[in-house]
């Protein structure tokens, strides 16, 4: 549940980008970091290996502005996508208010996407969270690649979007769909907060 400070009228939400290795989670955060004015974001923290693969998490705090009289902040996290790092993925997922599942649209990565999506459900369930109850947005990344290499958004919807959650085609490297994805998830998270107020 987002943290709400009624005294200083602040809301802080934790949003996690999840998905298989090299699907573009960190690229999403890098694009946001590059586009948002400096006074509205903190430094991007990246705990990465020497070859720039995410080891623990990337973290980017954003100050959205005032919504309904509350200064609203988002904490954007990524998880390490490699199968090997499931223990750290579980840790980063703790307390998530919403998840973006980044799908690598390349046909050859289909099984990796599926495995990561199942892993997300398992890790949430371990924390007592039913994925059906959590704000979730799907992002079909790398849609800029040649059509013969990728699956189309309708095909990916058929495979992954059985809950009919918002889904967005994206090219995170150049920014297409990044904003729309973040907008969709923040809307869902705040909508949930509006309908299920926190007890303090």
């Amino acid at each position: 549940m987002p943290l709400v400070n009624f005294t200083t009228r602040e809301i802080t939400c934790k949003l996690v980008y999840y998905g298989p290795g090299r699907c573009g989670k960190t690229t999403n955060l890098l694009y946001v970091h590059g586009r948002v004015p400096e006074d509205r974001r903190g430094n991007m923290v990246s705990l990465a290996t020497q070859s720039d693969r995410t080891l623990f998490f990337d973290f980017l705090p954003l100050e959205l502005g005032v919504i309904s009289g509350f200064t609203t902040r988002f904490q954007l996290y990524t998880v390490p996508g490699q199968v090997y790092y499931n223990a750290t993925r579980r840790l980063v997922l703790q307390g998530a208010d919403g998840v973006v599942f980044v799908v690598d649209s390349q046909a050859r990565r289909f099984d990796d996407n599926l495995e990561s999506f199942q892993n997300l459900q398992e890790n949430l369930l371990e924390q007592g969270v039913d994925i059906r109850q959590l704000p979730l947005v799907l992002q079909y990344n790398k849609q800029d690649l040649p059509p013969d290499l990728i699956l189309s958004p309708p095909d990916l919807d058929d495979a992954f979007n059985f809950r009919a959650v918002p889904s967005h085609p994206a090219d995170a490297l150049h920014g297409a769909g990044v904003f729309e994805t973040l907008k969709a998830l923040s809307g869902l998270v705040l909508q949930r907060l509006a309908t299920r107020p926190p007890s303090l």
């Binding site: 943290l3 709400v4 400070n5 009624f6 005294t7 200083t8 809301i11 802080t12 934790k14 586009r35 948002v36 004015p37 509205r40 974001r41 903190g42 430094n43 923290v45 705990l47 623990f56 998490f57 973290f59 705090p61 954003l62 100050e63 959205l64 502005g65 005032v66 919504i67 309904s68 509350f70 609203t72 902040r73 904490q75 996290y77 223990a87 750290t88 579980r90 840790l91 980063v92 703790q94 307390g95 998530a96 904003f179 973040l182 907008k183 923040s186 809307g187 705040l190 909508q191 907060l193 509006a194 299920r196 107020p197 926190p198 007890s199 303090l200």
Partner: protein, 153 residues
């Protein structure tokens, strides 16, 4: 000092004056900031909280994997400052404290007064209040406009 809830302020003020800590950050185990003293920028506080929560989460997990009892605290000692990071239970769940201290105090004093802070917070925590309405029904227009402004669209 900034605290999410007023009842945190008195125990934290006492801790700060007794321990002579330079920076103190209290957070939930998922890295949400509850109170802080010593930071000047809210966004930096969030980064410190994310890192502190990550360290403690991995420490707990490491202990579990090793079949050891949970390690309740981690200490980093540098040449000029030290960092004490510890978990404690409150009626609001497990919280974490991150304390940065210098040569004007010692690890022993920080540990001593931190244990008292944890006990004081556990005693001071009020029972949970009923849910309160946060957002107005028309928040989405404001959200969209804020996001557009943020992304320059």
């Amino acid at each position: 000092m900034r605290a999410l809830e007023a009842w945190v302020e008195e125990p934290l003020t006492t801790f700060l004056s007794e321990s002579a800590a330079r920076v103190t950050l209290l957070m939930t185990s998922s890295g949400q900031v509850v109170a802080q003293h010593g930071f000047t920028r809210a966004l930096d506080v969030m980064s410190a909280a994310a890192l502190g929560a990550g360290i403690m989460a991995s420490t707990f997990e490491l202990a579990r994997v090793m079949g050891s009892r949970p390690l309740g605290a981690v200490v980093h000692h540098g040449s000029s400052v030290g960092v004490y990071l510890a978990a404690f239970e409150t009626p609001r769940g497990r919280w974490l404290g991150l304390v940065v201290f210098g040569g004007e105090t010692s690890l022993g004093l920080v540990q001593l007064f931190f244990a008292r802070l944890a006990a004081d917070l556990a005693n001071a925590a009020p029972t949970a209040e009923p849910p309160r309405q946060v957002l107005a029904e028309d928040f989405e227009a404001e959200l969209n406009s804020s996001l557009r402004a943020l992304f320059g669209r």
